[in-house]
Symmetry: C2
Subunit: 256 residues, 2 copies
């Protein structure tokens, strides 16, 4: 039984890709068969796992416009239990080309239906917008994981994101649940971080993961080596945080 988790937040730079890549890698370390799908034309999740977006022959774009079967474009990664559906700049075209297509919001959901027995987790990395790519990901997902950067502007966007999730739940995917909110780039020396963390916990109570991802320079270095943090520096705070997050997700999956 596969669990599809969409990592989304239209606020930019809050740690969506860092969370999608490192949660996927941590699930793979726990020997859960995991597929990471890069739904962002920026293709940061692709390069974060060491795959060069320019050299990829086929990517998610060809799948969404119906030219390729998703199983045919899956790439291996350095971790045995982790595979990747890459993206590249062509994916920008999908937003424009799908606009006037029938059932444009369920293209990804349809593509994933052929994969359900192959993986235990499918993680979707979204771009910083609430356009068609993010809507496709929310429609294909069982739940949505929301990274919240511990900064003032990041708090403001949450109400819009929750409205969009509600809209998708009402009209496109009634089963969509909130997996949880994960606080990212937490710096304990910084007042704002404590204020934002307190406010998020007050608002969202038990929906906030116990694991807090601390600001950790090793997390921002690892993508330049094309490696998730568990392969780049397993002893770093960042690796510990994302392994803990994976443990929480696995424990939570048992309860759903």
């Amino acid at each position: 039984m596969v669990k599809v988790i969409c990592v989304a937040n239209q606020k930019g730079g809050v740690g969506k890709t860092t969370t999608a890549v490192n949660l996927s890698a941590s699930l793979a370390v726990a020997e859960k068969k995991t597929l990471l799908i890069d739904c962002d034309p920026q293709a940061n999740a692709t390069s974060g796992l060491g795959v060069s977006p320019e050299q990829v022959a086929k990517n998610l774009y060809q799948v969404l416009i119906g030219k390729e079967n998703i199983a045919g474009i899956i790439c291996p990664t350095e971790l045995d239990y982790l595979q990747l559906v890459p993206s590249n700049q062509e994916l920008i075209g999908a937003e424009i080309e799908l606009v006037n297509t029938v059932s444009r919001e369920i293209k990804l959901k349809e593509a994933l239906s052929s994969l359900t027995n192959k993986f235990e987790y499918i993680i979707l990395d979204c771009p910083p917008s609430l356009g068609l790519l993010t809507i496709n990901a929310l429609t294909a997902a069982d739940s949505v994981l929301i990274p919240v950067q511990c900064e003032y502007y990041a708090m403001e966007g949450l109400s819009q994101l929750l409205k969009t999730i509600e809209l998708v739940t009402r009209s496109l995917n009634s089963a969509l649940a909130i997996e949880g909110f994960v606080l990212t780039m937490f710096d304990s020396r910084n007042n704002i971080c404590h204020q934002v963390a307190d406010e998020v916990r007050e608002h969202f109570q038990d929906k906030v993961f116990a694991t807090v991802v601390h600001r950790n320079v090793r997390l921002s270095e690892s993508p330049s080596y094309g490696k998730p943090i568990v392969l780049y520096d397993i002893s770093s705070k960042g690796a510990v945080n994302y392994l803990d997050l994976a443990k929480e997700i696995i424990a939570q999956a048992r309860r759903f």
Copy 2:
């Protein structure tokens, strides 16, 4: 003679809003009549200047769909020489509603034509995408200012941004120039920052501003007080950096 500068980069969280708000405020401190236009439905530039997006009666959305004249929705700010065209979540509707409209890319340019004698600088804050709102801003602008966060993922997106700028220059706005690249969130203790800074300077040479905006916690605190850095903490490194950037822009305007 007005100079319209668009602050754009589709990579999320690189400091677009922080740059747009604080550059505008710094130009106002130098007694240049400045208008900041918030082209992002997240409305961070609006709240960053102390205006509540929910309480704004009219915003850029009404202007782009032709319901309001831009001069009629301009708000004052705490700085005499700085005014604001606010945004709010309704602006998300503009991307969808304008898709099938004739001359959808020049709506903002048309709206600005009635303002040219009122301001010396008009600064446009863009959302983290290359959709219709950013295209409108690039088409209305004389030049584009590109914040580059000193992080690995931020480097990767630059080629896509430059392609889009070239596309706009070729088909929508032949006068569009690059104002420059400004390095943001620079932390001298962090190797990645030095690597990215060296690479950006090697690639873009004299197009990179001498001013580097350092990571400074006061910059991330000031939006929660609805104040630009010059009003929140004039003695901070962040305030000095943005005042320096404004000086470079003013000096450069004389050369163009």
